[in-house]
């Protein structure tokens, strides 16, 4: 019955081909492909392949330049709201619908907290983006405007001049990719690392 002259034989032999093909492609796509990719990636781009980690002078890992961190000290620039508090062993957010009353309450609380911590800056200058939850809960960036409105508070708490801080923010602002893609952004962790060095 097998080996018949018709195209791939009986249904029984079709099953054997399906079984062998499945095993072959589990090996090829599920084992060989990711392992070869890992090997090439580690060889060609080791820094990127291992998570773009930032280390201090002693070689200790401070974090990743791609992953946001939680900043509670008001003398640091603050990142966006994170319902997972930047705990990067997982990721995600509350998925609040636009009509969800809990989100409205959270935003009102954020505005009240902002007013208490930044009495010199009117609420109308506070970018809504800063007090919204990012999708990943790990957004490493804030908008340039979100960094600038924090300068008066940080200047007061650290004694650094507003001009120095402005320069610092400018230095850590990335433009659009290739000049057109995405939005300009400030990396909060990198900004705060340099800020902490100035504060010493």
């Amino acid at each position: 019955m097998t080996n018949s002259t018709s195209s791939s034989g009986s249904n029984g032999s079709l099953f054997m081909i399906a079984l062998r093909a499945s095993i072959a492609f589990i090996l090829l796509c599920g084992i060989i492909y990711p392992l070869v990719s890992t090997g090439l990636a580690q060889l060609l781009f080791p820094h990127q392949a291992n998570g773009s980690l930032i280390k201090d002078s002693n070689g200790r890992i401070i974090g990743s330049s791609l992953i946001g961190q939680s900043f509670t000290d008001p003398a640091y620039f603050q990142g966006r709201v994170s319902s997972i508090d930047y705990k990067a062993e997982a990721s995600g957010s509350n998925n609040y619908a636009p009509s969800n009353p809990d989100m409205l309450q959270r935003t009102k609380d954020s505005i009240a907290a902002w007013q208490a911590a930044n009495p010199d800056v009117p609420v109308s200058q506070l970018p809504l983006a800063l007090i919204t939850n990012s999708g990943s809960g790990l957004d490493p960036h804030i908008t340039p405007a979100s960094a600038e409105v924090q300068i008066p508070r940080i200047s007061k708490l650290t004694g650094l001049s507003a001009d120095t801080l402005k320069e610092l923010v400018k230095k850590h602002t990335d433009g659009r990719d290739l000049g057109v893609f995405g939005d300009p952004r400030v990396n909060v962790l990198e900004l705060n690392i340099e800020l902490s060095q100035l504060r010493k």
Partner: protein, 559 residues
């Protein structure tokens, strides 16, 4: 600048259609060409290993049986791996076995190219499962879909009794399209900071002296095939919103083009097979015009923002940034949302649950229509199904036998097409109703009010269209949701695939009718318009009531 970056990405896509389509045509046309020398050797080796003795064409029944058997074996083996992952190697973070109904849902989800995820990658899967189950099925399900689409095209455009050999189509999809492209895109993504490592999670001592554990892994190799194969399941829970999966606007553009280019070139491939490229461009034009309307809608809605928050007095000029990432902003987020549900990928770079009601209506509507480019092959097949329906309706209006590509469309084909068109709304709306009638279903809703309706509707629409994105607030990892969405995904994938192969098998045997002055032409703008009209009217008649209860009602309450 927003509009400019959207135009550039769409322009690059349009430029890719012809070269990529020509390449894909040569892969499946089974005529000798230059690339045979490059890939012929490895393919002959694979044919030998899998015991494929004859590479002759198959009847539609044999073709369908072959792809079903292959998919069933892959499902069985993958289920075993997920259930045993705790004791298998490649598990540096010590993750235990996956629960039964969740494993069922996961393997169905990935074999059907849906990639609905009721688990979270960082904590639910070992590295071995991510590779041998998830990445593997991202290849094999995409190759299956692509092969079936090509077989359908052969049925429409050639004569005889066979529609190609499934196993050669399946192997060539891997060796000539998905594996080389995936390896290339993987390396580009790594160069742009997407991690690719087998090391366990990283522990960092943060600037404020706390400890941060950072999930990592072989992310890039999954990311590339996730998009090329229009799969969409993320390595991380937050999917392409996670900075490791999608670190910059540039990687965002690459991921968008990766998932969009192959589905977008298929109409051109179809035109090549039909020997009339205009046929292909008409279908492409219909898809693109629907797409542009959807993109403009979601972009405008998101830029306008959420009135509830905008009224609080803060600076709302940035638009609705809840659930979005700063690096993408409104433009790259809207584009990703429109493309991922058009191409039925289902990856997300922002949380669709948090979109404004009208913004969230766009992905929902694209999945309901399921023809705007569409996933690996399936979108084109669905669109051609509507094309045949449009010809049929137009034929009835002028009172002559409808023809498509010179073949008479008769009751047998129309019955099959009616089944395929009707099963889609049925498997969305019936389970949605069941979910609302039971506590098991209702318990998962996390957003009160009309949005809760949208959450449930979105989940089943995403399952039925094999998209896989979600209004992720839904607490859907329960046996009820795992089983019901699993069944919907199975029906959504295989009923229409088998029906369409049957149509192909029937059309391929028919004699061509000579073209006369009275022939209704299907390669001009008029037909493009009729096609879009048919899609929109059928879609609106079916889904408008459900949509009014969900997103539109929510929109009216928060103005």
């Amino acid at each position: 600048m927003d509009i400019l970056q959207l135009i550039i990405v769409i322009g690059v896509l349009v430029l890719l259609v012809k070269p990529l389509g020509t390449y894909v045509y040569h892969v499946y046309s089974d005529q000798p060409n230059r690339t045979d020398r490059l890939f012929g050797g490895i393919e002959r080796f694979i044919y030998k290993v899998i015991g494929l003795k004859s590479r002759d064409g198959m009847t539609w029944k044999k073709y369908a049986l072959s792809f079903l058997l292959t998919n069933i074996v892959l499902v069985a083996l993958s289920y075993l791996i997920l259930r045993l992952q705790g004791s298998l190697p490649g598990n540096p973070n010590g993750i235990g076995a996956m629960e039964e109904t969740l494993s069922f849902n996961t393997v169905i989800s990935f074999i059907t190219n849906t990639n609905l995820q009721h688990y979270s990658g960082e904590t639910g899967l070992s590295y071995f499962s991510q590779m041998a189950v998830i990445m593997m099925m991202m290849f094999t399900s995409a190759a299956t879909g692509f092969s079936v689409a090509i077989a359908f095209i052969r049925g429409l455009t050639s004569r005889g009794s066979t529609i190609g050999n499934f196993f050669t189509d399946f192997v060539k999809s891997h060796t000539r399209i998905f594996l080389p492209l995936a390896t290339l895109i993987t390396l580009v993504l790594v160069a742009l900071h997407v991690p690719q490592t087998l090391q366990p999670n990283v522990t960092a001592a943060t600037l404020e002296g706390a400890t941060q554990s950072i999930a990592i892994g072989p992310v890039a190799s999954l990311e590339s095939i996730k998009h090329l194969g229009t799969n969409g399941g993320g390595f991380m829970g937050a999917n392409s919103a996670h900075p490791f999966e999608n670190p910059s606007p540039l990687t965002n553009v690459i991921e968008i083009l990766s998932m969009w280019a192959l589905p977008a070139c298929l109409p051109y491939v179809y035109g090549r097979f039909a020997g009339n490229r205009k046929q292909g461009w008409v279908v492409f034009g219909a898809m693109m015009s629907l797409f542009l309307v959807f993109l403009a809608t979601v972009y405008t809605a998101e830029l306008h923002g959420n009135p509830v928050l905008n009224n609080l007095g803060a600076d709302a000029s940035q638009g609705s940034m809840e659930g979005k990432e700063v690096r993408f902003g409104i433009a790259q987020s809207s584009l990703f949302t429109a493309v991922t549900t058009a191409a039925t990928t289902g990856s997300v770079n922002n949380m669709h649950d948090t979109l404004t009601p009208i913004g969230g209506l766009v992905p929902l509507a694209e999945m309901m229509l399921n023809v705007v480019f569409g996933g690996k092959g399936v979108g084109l097949v669905n669109m051609l199904m509507y094309a045949i329906l449009a010809v049929f309706i137009a034929g009835l209006m002028v009172g002559r036998t409808p023809e498509f590509l010179g073949r008479k469309i008769e009751p047998k084909e129309m019955k099959l097409i009616a089944i395929a068109i009707l099963v889609h709304p049925f498997i969305i709306l019936a389970p949605t109703a069941i979910a609302f009638l039971t506590d098991l279903g209702q318990g998962a809703i996390t957003n009160p009010g009309f949005h809760g309706i949208s959450q449930v509707l979105y989940e089943y629409t995403s399952s039925a269209s094999n998209n896989g994105s979600g209004f992720e607030g839904l607490a859907d990892n329960t046996p009820f949701w795992n089983m019901t969405t699993g069944l919907v995904m199975l029906l959504g994938r295989y009923v229409s695939m088998i029906a369409m192969l049957a149509v192909a098998g029937s059309l391929v045997r028919k004699n061509t009718v000579p073209e006369t002055i009275g022939t209704f032409r299907t390669d001009n703008v008029l037909f493009g318009g009729i096609l879009v009209g048919t899609v929109v009217i059928v879609g609106a008649l079916t889904f408008l009531p459900a949509v009014v209860l969900g997103p539109i009602a929510e929109h009216l309450t928060i103005r």
